[in-house]
């Protein structure tokens, strides 16, 4: 069970496809104009990812190595078509908002990347959990970006859903954030923030290695881990 949970943790935090691996940048930048669009894109990608990981992993010994990429594409494309038709039937507003980016899930590097790097080498159940982890990581990242872009750029959150919230009238929306440059700005700020957190945590660990008591340490003078005062 532990390795299944590890897959989830890996996908959401350790190798978050958007913020750490920097995969699937096209939908990340293009459709996160609102939190709802981001969540919708993330969940549809996750649905495709979980099933494609399961199928590819189950067929991993049958697919010849030389034609594996076309084979993956066929599997992914069929699943994307299913998802596309389902969204069109049941959530037409999301279908209209996402537009061309739903069929483009086929060429999302996260899906092909996980198929190639994980599903083709591991048993189906693990691969499925890998899909869930990666899909959740992607969904969280996209919702997070959509949340900030919609909040700053339009002054609303989850507008058009029962959870809609909007800032008071006095707030003047900074509309650049719902336009293309805003996507780059928000992504850059989030990644910078995560990296800063990461560096801080790792830095602390280094000091903990020797107790961090530089004042009483005779070698502190030549130590590159010496705590900066």
């Amino acid at each position: 069970m532990n390795s299944y949970l590890e897959r989830l943790y890996n996908g959401i935090v350790k190798e978050n496809p958007t913020f750490i691996l920097m995969l699937g940048m096209c939908p990340t930048l293009a459709v996160t104009t609102s939190a709802f669009n981001g969540l919708g894109m993330g969940l549809s990608t996750m649905a495709v990812l979980v099933v494609s990981n399961l199928i590819i992993s189950a067929l991993r010994n049958l697919i010849p190595d030389k034609v594996r990429i076309p084979a993956y594409i066929v599997i992914v494309a069929s699943l994307v078509t299913v998802v596309q038709l389902l969204i069109q039937a049941y959530i037409p507003s999301l279908y209209d908002a996402l537009g061309i980016y739903i069929p483009l899930i086929v060429v999302n590097c996260i899906i092909l990347g996980r198929a190639e790097a994980y599903a083709s080498k591991n048993p189906p159940l693990l691969a499925g959990f890998d899909g869930i982890g990666m899909g959740l990581g992607f969904s969280i990242a996209l919702t997070c970006m959509g949340f900030f872009r919609e909040l700053i750029g339009a002054g609303t959150v989850f507008s058009g859903t029962p959870f809609a919230y909007s800032l008071p009238e006095i707030y003047e929306p900074v509309s650049i954030f719902v336009l293309a440059p805003g996507a780059f700005l928000v992504l850059a700020f989030i990644i910078a923030f995560l990296n800063a957190m990461n560096i801080e945590n790792n830095g602390r660990k280094k000091v903990e290695g020797c107790g961090g008591a530089c004042g009483s340490c005779g070698k502190a003078e030549n130590c590159d881990k010496r705590r900066k005062l």
Binding site: E172, P173, V174, S175, I176, F177, L179, P181, L185, A192
Partner: protein
């Protein structure tokens, strides 16, 4: 040690030019245009300038204090950024616009890229583009409470009208706080040239290319009135003399500078003639700044004897 003669190798004559002196020269050169803007638009435009400068300095100080960097508050670079941004704003904008612009310019464009000398694009221009895209309504409102005419000369030109060139040259027209008086900006530019703070190549090639572009594609041929109005209008003068010559974002070599200025002239022409808005200098400068690393790459001087070597 004090009593020994100080023995050192050359250079023995040192100039006192530092970032601070250069920046103070730029501020001094901007003063006539800023003063004219305040005279023309009243005390409120002074508040806009003060807010822009104040928040630029505050952001610089706060960020550097927060991350523990050495403070560059006193080198004047944030002062210049704030002043340039303020001068590029319409005179009657609500005060939160210069606030937000200055914070964006210093924090996102300058400090997050590594502070002074490390920014990729001109902070003041990037912030103006940011504001222009976000708050199109407030940023294009040039009319004030005193019934001053709303449309800028460039907008009139764009809609096929004619502009009063003499008024545009002296500055008795509408526009952003610091860009209206071509005369005052030229005086500042010439001061910088004489003090050798800036090099003549970028402004002259920029203005020349732009003029040629307008003659060729403007649709009015070499009509001197139209040409003069295009040259005096909008942010062209302040952009050419003060923004395009920014040390950080302009190329190092002379060849590179010519190329950069050519790009600027052509881009400004394209944005002005076929763009959605009447002005285009800020977008042109930001775009050309992004091209500078590539320009530097192709204009890097070859060391003596390099020609003979075959590079694999």
């Amino acid at each position: 040690m004090r009593e020994l003669w100080n023995v050192s190798s050359s250079p023995h004559v040192r100039a006192w030019d530092g970032t601070r002196n250069l920046m103070l020269d730029v501020v001094l050169a901007l003063m006539p245009a800023a003063a004219f803007g305040i005279y023309r638009f009243g005390i409120y435009s002074l508040c806009v300038l003060v807010t822009a400068v104040g928040f630029a300095l505050l952001t610089e100080y706060t960020y550097e204090a927060c991350v523990g960097k050495e403070s560059t508050l006193w080198d004047g670079s944030a002062l210049v950024t704030g002043l340039l941004l303020g001068m590029n704003l319409p005179p009657f904008v609500p005060l939160w616009i210069p606030m937000l612009g200055s914070i964006f310019a210093i924090l996102a464009v300058k400090q997050l890229f590594g502070g002074i000398g490390q920014n990729v694009v001109n902070p003041a221009m990037a912030a103006r583009c940011f504001l222009l895209i976000s708050f199109a309504d407030q940023m294009n409102r040039y009319s004030g409470a005193d019934g001053m005419s709303g449309a800028t000369p460039l907008e009139i030109l764009k809609n096929g009208g004619t502009a009063d060139t003499a008024a545009m040259f002296t500055g008795f027209t509408t526009g952003s706080i610091g860009e209206i008086s071509t005369l005052a900006l030229l005086a500042g530019g010439i001061y910088l040239l004489v003090k050798r703070v800036i090099d003549w190549v970028i402004p002259i090639v920029y203005l020349g290319t732009f003029a040629l572009f307008i003659v060729l594609f403007g649709g009015r041929g070499a009509d001197p009135g139209y040409l003069a109005a295009q040259l005096c209008g909008g942010g062209l003068m302040i952009g050419a003399w003060f923004m395009a010559t920014d040390y950080t974002t302009s190329p190092v070599t002379e060849k590179g500078r010519v190329l950069y200025a050519l790009f600027l002239g052509i881009l400004t022409g394209i944005f002005r003639l076929w763009g959605a808005s009447a002005g285009g200098v800020s977008y042109a400068i930001v775009t050309a700044d992004l091209l500078v690393p590539l320009i530097e790459k192709i204009t890097i001087p070859k060391p003596f004897g390099w020609e003979g070597q075959k590079d694999g």
